[in-house]
Amino acid sequence: MTISKLVLIELWKRKSQLITGLLAITLGIAVIVAIQSVAIVSEQNVARNLDNLGANILVLPQAASIDDYYTCDIDAPTLPMDYVERILNSTIAGVDNMSPKLTRRVEVDNQSVVLTGILPKSEIASKPLWQSSGLLGAQLTTACTPGKSAIKSHGLEDEKLKRKAIDTLYIDDCLAGSQVAKKLKLSASGRIKIMGKEFKVVKILPETGTVDDDRIFANLKDVQALLKLENQVSAIEIMGCCNAISEGLLGQLRNILPDTRITTIGQIVSTQIETNQLMKKISLVMLIIIFFVGGISIGNYIWANVNERKREIGVLRMMGAGRSTIYKMFLLKALILGIAGGILGFLIGTLAGVVLGPYLAGIIVKPVYLYLLWSVLFSVAISLTGSLIPASLAANFDPYSNLQED
């Protein structure tokens, strides 16, 4: 027998009471864990999609899904480069900028990297046809790019978008993402052999925390030649004006490009960012509420328990237990409750996230095991804080007066 064992036995014998004690804290943590589990996946999606933020419309081959576009598999479908001209030759208004891209996963030094062919701005600008459509010097973001402020607040502005603003990228030159550079030990003005062709690394791009870091950018023509996909691209990113989009730009594009999939990424991303930020705010508010409600509820539960056990406390003191023993007894109980609340909250929250995530947010949610640690720490902190006062009151009971009661 030890005092800790006594605490455990008491807890176990009165386990039905636990439910009331734990309810607030468990549910609170469950809600936060659920929100956060959904938010983290959604955030990852945003990070992926931010890759495309230069454009808000994505033209993909009919057979491709957005996921194909990101995975860049070797057999991912392509569409003809001529579509760029087709759009330019049309009378469609509201297309501010276009960026055809060809992306493939390739092996370099036995490492898998993603090679993306892009057309630099200078090259776009040099095309007289494009000039005539008012593309010269076009800003890379339209005045109405959705989610612009949201992107800024994510700290992901500038550098990330700069790659859209690559002015020159000559034949035989390439740019390396920071991760790729690390993996392949590349340095600026070094050289790299991709599929037998030698490229000059003109710049190592700063870390963005997105898929870009794993990419090597080269001139589209080079990449097309290397992959033997002359005149083919994986996607055309289009910067369209919001007003134009709402006035039916997508439909018009679909009319002239019937065998393609056309999506608006900007909208997806911006709603996701907004949702995530809302979720974050809700989580924070919840956190504060739970701290008080959970703390008070556990404290209240411990206080009820203390009162119920007044006589027992008196008997223990009579037998020579010190104040500190009584104090520790109740704090230990609070600690166990805290751990239980944290674990339970995590389990319920994760389950809710995994089950409801696909319905509510349309995403696959996986358990985030790190949240278990946070849930338990937070729950223990609340539980101990809430129990300090009742435990200390219990420790300072007058043993005599509590012996008399029957």
């Binding site: 027998m1 005092i3 006594l6 008491e10 009579m318 037998m319 020579g320 005599y400």
Partner: protein, 223 residues
């Protein structure tokens, strides 16, 4: 001499006035004595019994236990003395309701951080001694009143105290059971040389005393 009280005064504040529960009480208990404390209701018997080792703080007076003054030491030290040298038996048994017989008996050993093995060995021995071997894993509510009091007695002696303080240990028991318990206390007193101080209402119980204190209105009127 194991326990000595000198000029013990305990006053309670009540409704603005003072109640003198103990009024200049002095006595000396020898080692191995069986002391009975008698007196009318409200005469201060419980107050005396519980104040000697600090469960109630005295207003003034001196208490000497085992050659040392203990009335002026800290709560912590008093708790240590109770833990190591004193066993209590109360009228209401005061068992912990959710612990089994043997677990209840092990509590004083747990408080002294005695290893688990020795705890169960000692507790089983004592339960054998009080004849409850077949009730070791029962909860208090599954025991009769007499059995509960025997558990309480086992608990009060399991840590081999020097003195047992009993406040009306037979107060809740019928006459036959009372005699059984009293005989038992006498046996403990004689066989183990454990000093006993027992508060009682019953004249029969008082006869067990080798030393008798009689209280009236907080004063000792006969020893």
């Amino acid at each position: 001499m194991i326990l000595k009280g000198e000029n013990i005064i305990k006053q309670y504040h009540h409704d603005g006035g003072l109640i003198s529960a103990l009024d200049h009480v002095s006595f000396t208990v020898g080692k191995g004595d069986f002391v009975t404390v008698t007196g009318p209701s409200g005469s201060g018997k419980s107050t005396l019994l519980l104040s000697l080792f600090g469960l109630i703080r005295l207003t003034s007076g001196t208490v000497i236990f085992d050659g040392k003054r203990i009335d002026d030491i800290s709560d912590r030290h008093l708790a240590d003395i109770r833990k190591n040298s004193v066993g209590y038996i109360l009228q209401s048994f005061a068992l912990i309701p959710y612990l089994t017989t043997i677990q209840n008996v092990m509590i004083p050993l747990a408080l002294r951080k005695i290893p688990a093995k020795e705890q169960s060995k000692r507790a089983s021995e004592i339960l054998d001694y009080v004849g409850l071997t077949d009730r070791m894993h029962h909860l208090p509510r599954e025991l009769s009143a007499g059995q509960q009091q025997r558990v309480a007695i086992a608990r009060s002696i399991v840590h081999r105290p020097q003195i047992i303080m009993a406040d009306e240990p037979t107060g809740n028991l019928d006459p036959t059971l009372s005699l059984e318990i009293l005989d038992f206390l006498q046996k403990i007193n004689r066989e183990n040389k454990i000093t006993i101080m027992m508060v009682t209402h019953s004249p029969v119980a008082a006869e067990y005393g080798t030393m008798k204190l009689h209280l009236k209105e907080g004063k000792i009127i006969k020893t």
